[in-house]
Symmetry: C5
Subunit: 293 residues, 5 copies
């Protein structure tokens, strides 16, 4: 993740080398330029279409449908952003829960109980690390796919990582309660934190393994493609060769919105804008270390 | 549910065979092509309407109302997506709750209590399976309908499945408490999980048996139909025979949005984009089996 | 409430007899047709206004303001839908809470305690029934009105129904606790359910007695009226007598959106699209009967 | 607050005397009429600008920016409505919490404990009354202002009203617990209600003392003003003297949206559409009186 | 933060000296004026482009894309406002939690326990102060940045301030419980408040150290820049020298929306519209002082 100064326009406007969206688009922008130029050349120099040609009025259709495309893309981006922000909230809760658990362990355990202290000092950050690995494996991503994934068959025997860590934490806490080291009231307090671990894991998995419905995303991509590819035919009449930059810019704007949505809707990947899971897991490690002695 | 690579445009744009929306639309797209062509032929070759014909200006009305139609359809899709996503969240919570309950049962019950362990190992995944069947039966769908459904009359004696499983789990847990196997504190912890089961079931039923108000959906369909069917009359003047692809594309875009909404607003059906309830129930079965020994 | 097949377009498009919105609009649609025809006739046959007439350009104002009207109406519908959906959620919670309470009563009370069992078996569904009557009385609707309602004066001595049922349930549960039939832990569990009853009642009352601010709804209606009534003057120039169907359709679309919002914003009324409170109360009665023996 | 029949269009459209927005706007509407007429007169009769004048095309800019203004105003209204509705929810919760507390006090306290019963019977409604006064004082509104408010300096010694009532309730409840009149379990139940009192007070204060950021509201007002004041210059060419009603209507629509937002964003004031705090406090008084004997 | 009268239009419209957005924009507005004038001069006086020039139709592209830009900017502002309002809610909760904790400490601790009373009287407001400092340090802001920040290396040894205060409060409360000064029930009540402290801190950190994705903000800035800089070329044909005020105004509107979003998306900075953290921390100090004797 990049932390930037939102008020620095120059950097944002000219940061082509960092923003991946525009980099990925370069070949396509180039293609659109050639394509629009070819159509313009063909219509102007060869066909020499008159002002009365019906082709001339195609843009009226583009403006009728341009509205629904725009609003659809903006909602698409916002839905993706909501997923990204929910992912961030979940990892924020993970940080909080880890801190709270450490805080409580620190004051609930007797000062000389080195064994249990050391156990929690290691296990709490371990949950964050295991969850990170779990979320970044492709197996998690295809967990709900309708197709078979033979590649994951052999992995299927291995168990669910975060679940195992949570189970380990829960068991140890239960032993503390049974041995009378913590009271029933304290047991309930600790349990609510452990419960939160499992809920966070489940919610992260949901974001990871449930992309927005395929029909929806497929429809948007078809719509953009047809819309942009038919754009030059009619606009040649009003823009002439200026149709080349105009169409390239329109293509850049419309596909960028979809590409930004694609990039941020899965916040647990390794794109430039994805959440810094490793950094956050390290912070949890550091904070828990500070809190449990 | 299909898990796909959101960055693979080629696949999304050319996946006609998989996307059901466009498949269902084929006959109607064909009809719209014929219909538009017929109007164009009639107006151009027979009527030979002059440039002054009032028909020419009908598109001004389409552009005035096109805006409200577009924004309505996008909101419709987003409302449907919210229902779909809420359904996914509820099944995510079901997975979590099942896991948490199993985690607790595993450490709360004495190691040699094979009977109770085996009971929970079977009953927890049973809830997910029963809920899936309950949500996919038409009886659940028509639960609140104003009309009589004689076909369901004989079924009415059978009881509410998920309720029965929840009652069974609750009773057994209460017995454990009364027999002193679990303490009052532990009883409260377990009860919160059982409570969550019933809440998830109720919320899923709500999504299933309460479609968006009939007036709303009927209005949108009437609006689209009149809008699209009147589209060619005026546009023939500006587009000529190009009116055929233009109207077909506009029809495709507008009805697709409504059809996507129809498909995803009931996430518990058997459409291609519906939630993989069986897969999720299996995962619950697998995880619970891993956690309770 | 009507449960319908959302994929059945034919039924939705031609269901004039069921959809109340269009039925209520018939006289007004007829009036708009006459009104538009009269203006068209007057402008075309009598005034014979030239192409240069300033009246001709009035539609530019309609298109400038048409956008804000459209987006306002769509937001209006969505706000109303949110209220309707919140009402549905609340009654879903009522169903859940009733079920959960019954579940707990069933396993907490001794099997031979016929008196208390029978008390809860009657009182739990009674709450739903009392709440339904409470929500459908006009007294509840005008609870916060600034004007005096002498008609309700004599009713004012009677007490708040759902409150009385909740008080009755709470007292009995407290007696069970005092008599030692249920433990402190169990008392807390039951109390959370009883608390939920009172919260649901309060939230339903809020939706019922607080319509959206009068200024807002009055503004929207003024806006639609002026907008639609001025529509024909300018469009006669471009549409001629086609102005009649065009204006009637625009009128239908714009007022329908407002009327749908009016109908669904109070989900506890007796409109066709309102929630089936009696059906839901019966379901609660049936489920509770199944759960408590 | 006015409770009205949302389906009564006639009343809503012609209720000029009640709706304050339009009343406040009268002088400005009159000014805009004069202003537009003056510009029309000047451009038409004196300047006799030709069709080629560049002034003629200014409306193209208005339509380019009209969209962003419209959508901004609709979002503005919806943000304000969210605040109003949150305020209503909070007072609904206050009603619920007061009822629940009374319900519990009634059954928890011994029947002959007249002193404590009478204490709660008075103190619970007192909280609502104190909160109402607190929210309607200007001191609360300027609590977070950056400027000094010498007028409130002398008031600064007086303490925070609702806090004092909450403290009084909390102390008495704690005494009941210490004296053994209520058990630990019952103490926790009562405490959750008391906690809710303090949370509701804090949330109401937040809405009261935090208007939307000044930059945002100032920007919207600047935008509307420039937009509306430049409207007649260009439209005179297409509308002639019809520019007068057109501009007055556009002005009415755009400023009304902003004024409605202003009115409802602070739901605790004394505008016609503000929440009926006194009525609600009276209802709480009445209900609590019914519940505690 | 400025508390203003939202109904005072004159002040809002003419408050150039206070609103920072327009002040920062002055040089750029001036630049845009020169730039537009230069283009107008060049096209009109030198090129003397004919009516047939293709440049003339470039605005059709601006209107096609203007819609997506507008809606994008309005959503951007609303996303930023949501962050600002969430920040305000969190500090409102902090105030509430501090008050509630003080309320409880006051009645739970024995009246003569001066030591503990004085401890909480100091520590509770200390949390708010430490959190304010923590949120306003740049180290917090760059906590998740992918780049190294050598400047903060030496600070890294110092510990996390709010964590330390929370740990201190938790430990002391635990000691009270162990010493039997407070009961188990009371311990749970206090703990929920302490837990809330840690959660508020985590949520504030999230808002501070996670700006919206760089790709998104960079895209919006590129889009605005290209859009505004190409605006004058085509509009010179229709507006002539009027293009100068028109482009300057369009530039002002579009960039202002982005700048307002930038300003309010980080509510914990020191901009004019940022939250008055110091004032709120002082209020907490004052209220806690009033409540604990």
């Amino acid at each position: 993740m990049i932390i930037y100064n939102p008020k620095d326009w120059l950097h944002a406007v000219f940061s082509f080398h960092r923003s991946e969206t525009i980099k990925k688009l370069y070949p396509f922008l180039f293609f659109m330029a050639i394509y629009s130029w070819a159509i313009a050349f063909f219509e102007i120099e060869y066909l020499k279409l008159s002002e009365q040609s019906w082709l001339r009025n195609i843009p009226s259709m583009h403006s009728l449908l341009g509205f629904v495309l725009s609003i659809l893309l903006v909602f698409r981006t916002n839905t993706a952003y909501d997923r990204w922000w929910e992912g961030r909230k979940l990892w924020g809760q993970l940080t909080n829960t880890s801190r709270n658990l450490a805080l409580r362990i620190e004051s609930l355990l007797p000062i000389n109980d080195k064994v249990n202290r050391s156990f929690y000092k290691k296990s709490i950050p371990l949950f964050a690390n295991t969850l990170r690995d779990h979320l970044q494996s492709s197996r998690t991503r295809f967990m709900l796919d309708e197709k078979d994934h033979p590649a994951f068959a052999q992995l299927d025997d291995s168990k669910h990582g975060p679940n195992q860590v949570a189970a380990m934490l829960f068991k140890r806490t239960n032993i503390l309660y049974k041995e009378g080291i913590i009271s029933g009231d304290q047991f309930i307090l600790l349990n609510n934190e452990l419960l939160a671990f499992a809920d966070i894991c489940g919610a992260c998995e949901r974001i990871k393994n449930t992309p927005i419905p395929f029909t929806y995303t497929s429809f948007i991509k078809k719509f953009i493609s047809v819309y942009v590819l038919t754009l030059p035919y009619g606009f040649v009449f009003s823009l002439g060769y200026f149709v080349v930059p105009a169409v390239v810019f329109a293509f850049y704007v419309l596909t960028s919105l979809e590409m930004i949505a694609e990039e941020i809707e899965d916040p647990f990947g390794s794109d430039l804008n994805d959440l810094p899971l490793s950094k956050m897991a390290n912070n949890i490690h550091k904070h828990v270390g500070e809190l449990i002695h």
